[in-house]
Amino acid sequence: MMTAEQPLMKLDGIAKTFGRSVIALKSVDLEIYRGRVHGLLGANGAGKSTLIKILSGAFPATAGTIQWKGAPASWSSPKEANDMGVATIHQHIPLVPSLSVLENIFLSSQQTWRTTKAMRAQFDALCTRVGYWLDPDKLVGDLSIGARQMVAIFQALGSGADMIVMDEPTASLALEERELVYRTIRLLSKNENKAILFVSHFLDEIIALTDEVTVLRDGRAVMRAETKDLDETKIAEAIVGRQIAAMENAASDRQLADFDDAPVILELKELSSPGKLAPISLNLRAGEVIGIAGLLGSGRSELLHAIFGADQHARGEVLLNGKPLKRSTMAAVKAGVGLVPEDRMQQGLVPDFEIWRNTTLPALEGVSRGGFMPVMRRERERGADAIQRLGIKAPGPDALVSELSGGNAQKVTIAKWLYSHIDVLLLDEPTAGIDIGAKTDILILVRKLASTGKGVIIVSSEFEELLAVSDRILVMRDARCIAEKPVADTSEHELILLAGGQTEMSETA
């Protein structure tokens, strides 16, 4: 075993440029030790993904050296990286859903048979080591996201890796699933002496889980410190280079208005969807922001889809400005309802389109000559305007959305709705997986929209955001709305209790 003084992996001046103009990493030094969890943080576009891709062998660095176990090393493919002992668990877990757990874990093994006794024995050993049991013959496609994450961790362990890179492993997990991942990570680093590079946006889990922290900003490592010397404010400052007070200020400065006089713009009458949503009635007044607090699978996305007419099986009535809304997305958009969906890449954007073509998609008539011929100049102006208004980091309106980082892509999905006459904006987890700077921008934008008399319904798993931005909060659990609270009369603690149910209340951040 190596001494703690010698780093398992040492990066020296790692840089990466794409083409001639795009500099993703300027110069990053990083030391990763066995038996320690190293947290890697940074805003969107700071270079985290690039760094991880270099570590995992997806592409080589332009400059700098990598030392592995004290000797200079280089690898040019994920396979080589894996063989040397670096396993990477990517954010979007690349498992084969139609194969069993066992087959996925030993996918890279070079044996003749699909499953062997030795594999099963190895799998049992893995389960015992980690203290988590899975049915090895179950299809991965049938597992929950949390269980899939565990399969990915097993996969990394099965390859005998010394260092495990985890790219936002908890981003899409429910609370108890996160706990499982945390427990496993602690176990691996303390008991098995593995080095772990843990990438996350959640400051609380970085504080709770890691031993040391490196913060990237604009392609450089701007902070490197022991976690015990840090607190959330210090990390957040390092990430965005400023205090994150803006969001809290926005909440406290705001006067909690009385909406009794404001006209009702959206009215739900017993809106329901069989098996997905229990009947719900709701009035949204002009200028009001309603927050929906609920965990993954609580029916919160289903509610938004039912309002937007995207759920063909929905029943009940949706009235916009007193007029019934037909059950189709066309009718909803035409009448002035916009939806920012949960999965921005799968549901929100056309990846082959540039920023400008995505921005104008729901409101093409507005930039068209005679209502049917879009004028490229106007569209590109609109794209450039969106970039400026929302602070999107992109080379220009001609950038493809597939080349943007998460937060910037999210801003494009929101920008789509800012140029048509919408009365109601539905936002489904608009801040998931994006950095604090972009989060604050988006929440402030929501307040601004409300102050111009629009109605907003916003869904989030991060309840402090809802408290900062909403006027009223509905709590959803098991496909039904279980509580409605004015924002002044509730707290994050209460929301977590309500949304998580009594059984899951013990572990809260």
Binding site: R217, G241, A310, V333, G391, I444, K448, T452
Partner: protein, 412 residues
Amino acid sequence: MNERDIKMASTSNTAADPSIGTSDASGQGVSAEKLERKPDWRAAFGLREMGVFYALLLLVIVLSFATAYMGRSNYLSVLNVTNVMYQASLTSFMAIAMTVVLITGNFDLSVASVAAFSAAVFVGSANSMGLIPAGCLAMGAAIVAGLINGSIVQFVGINAFIVTLGTLTAIRGLVLIYTDGASLTIQSPEMSAALRAFESQRVDAGIVLAVIAVALLICSAVHYTRAKRLEPVNLGMMLGGAALLAFTWSAGFEVPLKMPVIYLAAFTLLVWFVLRFTTVGRRIYAVGGNPEAARLSGINVTFYKLAAFVFCSATAGFAGILFASRLRSMNPTGLQGYELTVIAAAILGGTSLFGGAGSVIKTLGGALLLYSLTNGFNILNLGANYQGLIEGVVVVAAAAIYTVGGRSGRKS
């Protein structure tokens, strides 16, 4: 409009913030020049964009030299060039409609069967009811086939490949039932004459082509003076205009085109215009590029996908009528196997099988490439045996170039 009012608080918010502030400042400072679209020469003239035209050009040059060297009739003669266009016209019609279906993310294997069915209905009913009603009936039959394809794919949710593989066989079966396995023929001489005028007549388009060439040159010049620099657009128009002018001039301003070529030119222009410049076109690309995002942006995805099937079958129906008019009879096995040539032409033109990308002009280039190959084999007397092999290699090579070119062309 409220959009002025919500002009992002982030301007005030980010003023205090160095990291976002810099990006914002640069965003404001550069936005005017950012808005200016820099011509991307490498993309515009790269293999991915222009590959099919380079291949066509290369083939034409090789064939011209080969024919000259071997002392055969000149490949580039007006007669031969217009002949290639004529031979390619039926496939091109279907390939262009196929491109639209492929862009919406679907697939239609049944085009040739639909065309054959339309041809059979046309010939079979023309004798009793006259040409125009028969034509309408044939088009109606084709449109119904498209509705059936599209409805099964969109409403039942079966993969388009499987559905149209089924209708490919089933509609060919209908042709056999309708014709009872025998050839149908137009009987009356007047009808034959009318069909000849509709399909086989040659029209001298020399002057028109020269005018188009000059118009292209003028457009190019106007664009150049406005943009104040050479851009791919004006250079392309200039080269195109010059080539067209040179060709018509070398032909002595006499270019006799057969009618289907003229129909095809009008059809291609129309489809290109709709795809390139209208909201309908944008939505077709969006529907193929990401159906869910399109649906959640308020686009009627089902309608556009279904309409693409109907459009494709209707075009196949028209191609069938042209085919029947050419022969003035219909053999029940006519047009068999054409669907593969049609799809090959679309793929040669760089149309994505996954939807969201494709261009009808490039598809036209693909069809011309395939028929130039066939024509070259005939002129050089190389024997039809090698033809299939070479065509297959060309299609796979083209797909390889698009895939590899696409990978290197895009910054990851």
